[in-house]
Symmetry: C2
Subunit: 567 residues, 2 copies
Amino acid sequence: MKNGEKKVVIVGASAAGLRCAARLVRLNPSFRVTVVEKSDVYSYAACGLPYVLSGDIEDILMLRKSKDGMLRDSGYFSSVKGVEVLAGWNATRIDKQKKQLHIQQQTDLRTLDYDGLVLATGARAKRLPGLPVHPRVRTFHTYEDVRPLTEDLAHGRIKSVAVIGAGLVGLELTEAFTAMWGAEVTLLEAGSHPLPFSVDCEVGGLVGKVLADQGVACVFDCRVERLEAHDGGVRIGLPTGTIEVDAVIAALGVSANVDLAAEAGIRLGRSGAVAVDSDFRTSENDIWACGDCIEQVHALRKDPVCMPLGSLANRQGRTLANLLSGRKDRFPPIVGATAVKIFDWNLATVGINRQAAEQEGLQTRSAWVSMQDTADYWPEVKNIFIQMLYSPESERVLGVQAVGEGEVVKRIDVAAQLLANQAVLEDFAHIEHAYAPPYAPALEPLAVAAMAALNQQDGVEGLSPLCDLQAYDLLDVRHASEVESMPVGSQAPPLHVPQHEIKNRIAEIENAHSSNDRTKPWMVLCARGARSAEVARGLVGRGLEACYLGGGLIWRRLASKESGEDS
Amino acid sequence: MKNGEKKVVIVGASAAGLRCAARLVRLNPSFRVTVVEKSDVYSYAACGLPYVLSGDIEDILMLRKSKDGMLRDSGYFSSVKGVEVLAGWNATRIDKQKKQLHIQQQTDLRTLDYDGLVLATGARAKRLPGLPVHPRVRTFHTYEDVRPLTEDLAHGRIKSVAVIGAGLVGLELTEAFTAMWGAEVTLLEAGSHPLPFSVDCEVGGLVGKVLADQGVACVFDCRVERLEAHDGGVRIGLPTGTIEVDAVIAALGVSANVDLAAEAGIRLGRSGAVAVDSDFRTSENDIWACGDCIEQVHALRKDPVCMPLGSLANRQGRTLANLLSGRKDRFPPIVGATAVKIFDWNLATVGINRQAAEQEGLQTRSAWVSMQDTADYWPEVKNIFIQMLYSPESERVLGVQAVGEGEVVKRIDVAAQLLANQAVLEDFAHIEHAYAPPYAPALEPLAVAAMAALNQQDGVEGLSPLCDLQAYDLLDVRHASEVESMPVGSQAPPLHVPQHEIKNRIAEIENAHSSNDRTKPWMVLCARGARSAEVARGLVGRGLEACYLGGGLIWRRLASKESGEDS
């Protein structure tokens, strides 16, 4: 499609479409590129919308401005980018034979000829089946969704709100309602923990604790049975009873906007999104697609996935422009890196979690480490928690989940590069990182997680921080002061031998275990899982059956649903 | 060397030696591992020492404590790690035939039999040749170096100090003297900018500005000709004259401690450090080496290098223990990731800089981008500056330098993984990152740097932020308000056409250039280098000779030695 005066029509003026359009024109000044957009407001940073609600961003217009302060409207795209944007026009039908796109604005009908058509129709918020259409029951996905919600909050019309869905946006909204507006939030999630599609229960448990500490009422494993909106509020029927709130936000994620594609007979993938090849071609000649409406190859899954992330959409738009201009480029398989701020905690993940691995038919094992994000003596040191999921057979790393008050996002960015390269545990153990005390410990926490996994492969098993302690005889190797400040609270009190006394008191441990007192395998406990792993290795070396609590008691305490659960 | 009761002797109780020792015992409980250490104080986090001086770390003992608060002394290593540390003993000679190490403590002489010997003798501070031995002229490398310096500062005996060497430690000390103690610091550096071995002048210029803003007197291209210490201070003779200070710190880096190895005839590499194979074997049977005293394979250099970094030393000790225990492991080539905090700025680098590339005989090209570390609308957004060095022929990325008030270290951690995989520009352009507005822009800045480089390969050249503007006719495409607040200050005033007016005023630009007014190639200018790159591409597309200022005027202004240099 390169060379000469070509007409390119792009449907959708969001990240993918506009970036593709602007670059196409830059690379091919002779091209005429028209973008058709159904909304009047477009080219805004949608990922920033929750932060308008939270007050972090004072003026929503900031989301529509270029770095040099210009409003990204049709004038901007025309004068600066050389792209014509037809805003407020709905693309209604593709005529593949005539290579025309039919568009409509109220009663106005037009057709646009194209040499190439790019679908960048994006995604739309999912709605609960049977969700009533009512101003008190909303979704939160577009620019237009922000103001009515903010006004209701500002005028005291919403003092309590139920957020349905503890995904990325659900969590961002929960924070905004709570921290900015002081609203009472009930978070309803069908899964057993927050972010069920990207993290496992151990990490989800930590997030649950953060939410609970902020006064958010979380209800997990929760099916909404009834939802009745009335002028005064919304009544929600749950299996456990009925709750009444001022408003409901359905934050159920998004689904690809494929109406136009489907109508044109363009092949959709199993995910329901538009299927494209590695060059973003659809099943139809001269029609390409990119952005949130397509599905892509995932490095860790058999089937392509629809992963509507702004970072991917931007890059896809650019790549497609390169390809349409005859430039060499290729979009590599994605690994699904995501990040979200949850109050003062940071969470990031990459790859797949246990549930997804199960769907892929993969055997998995996990390692958990409770680390610190800088040198431990650095005054601003903070805790971080990392779970690494891997294949015990190939030792390939399948996913990393990291959460904490400290810096976790950079670790996931690093992990993303390794996952994209099919890295195994040994690769992770040998991560080189830029070390200085304010930035990291001397051993990078990601590497430590891999080392814990490798030790596991070597017979030193670290169990889930949420495992059932009752199946074990417990050996607590912490200092007395630590035991006092954070008791284990197990039914049977652990045998307490601080690590530095183990060597001299090993007979006591061996005898305890051969006598009738203790008949179960040993589980060694410490604060973070480091000391206990060392001791467990020693016991295993002496022929005892032993494992340790992965991530240590710190993780367990924070992630357990009830803080006194073992007592 | 696995199995059975083996005697392993390790020389040097720092990161590499002790980590190796502890893991050896854990993996092989039957081994007897003895560590010989010449100092009484050891196993401290040496990278933290400058932060004791700066007051960030209140108690130097924190550097000697384990995470669970135990002092890492001989008792600790014996009881917790099962390792015997002979502290205060000097290893004087290796008897390779008898497989014995001779050690000495004052008049006490002993020999230790070994089945395996590990040299982890570390590095020592380099001294200027002819540096006088005098209490006012010091180095700063060991635990013992801290207290006398702090006391002199606390008692007002040091109010002015010359730091010789603007390397990592020199910069950390400069910050400590200035910010904590209010001392007048003169920083003397033989290179043309700070960190001459890891960054180029464009990034070095930014660091120089940070230092100057903090009142540090920086003297670059500076050879110390004379240094006379007397009771009242130190007189330093420079080519430009004599300065007088209360104390001198030589921060010239370190060199491998190889006395023991050299005496035993163990092969040293060209770098002067102990040569080892990929399994950390020295040239002699049953003798291994790891840590700061060895040289290692570098992914981007032909010859092995000595790179004494705590992060590498830790990992080497662990790897060697794995290998000595018959575990599969391999230490990959290093890419040399480093980080340093400089007042409120962060700096990190990986790979090689132009000077090193030249030594390797490599052709290079650079791309510069002035970016922001989060979404541009995020309230805490900060500037970051990235220089990417690559081979114009293979497009392999050779090095990345990043600096700014914002988050740069994570970008270098990410880059390190790619460099370790011989990544090319396209790989960098397709970095997947965990995106959310508080953590990153939608397009990862590292990817943007690679895109700038790829555009360069495509004919859109971005020149060094420090290039000579006089060779060009200047076209300023910023808004009028920007021009007003940051004038270019060039001899000939630039033609000013804001980017959004380019389309309508293109004839003006073309005519200006074909008339006699403007006869040089165009250089397009903007704040950060993004708009100017777009405009430059447009001009090139119209057959005009044009380039743009890489990194934009923001970078140039900050990195130029005199802020009004163009006027």
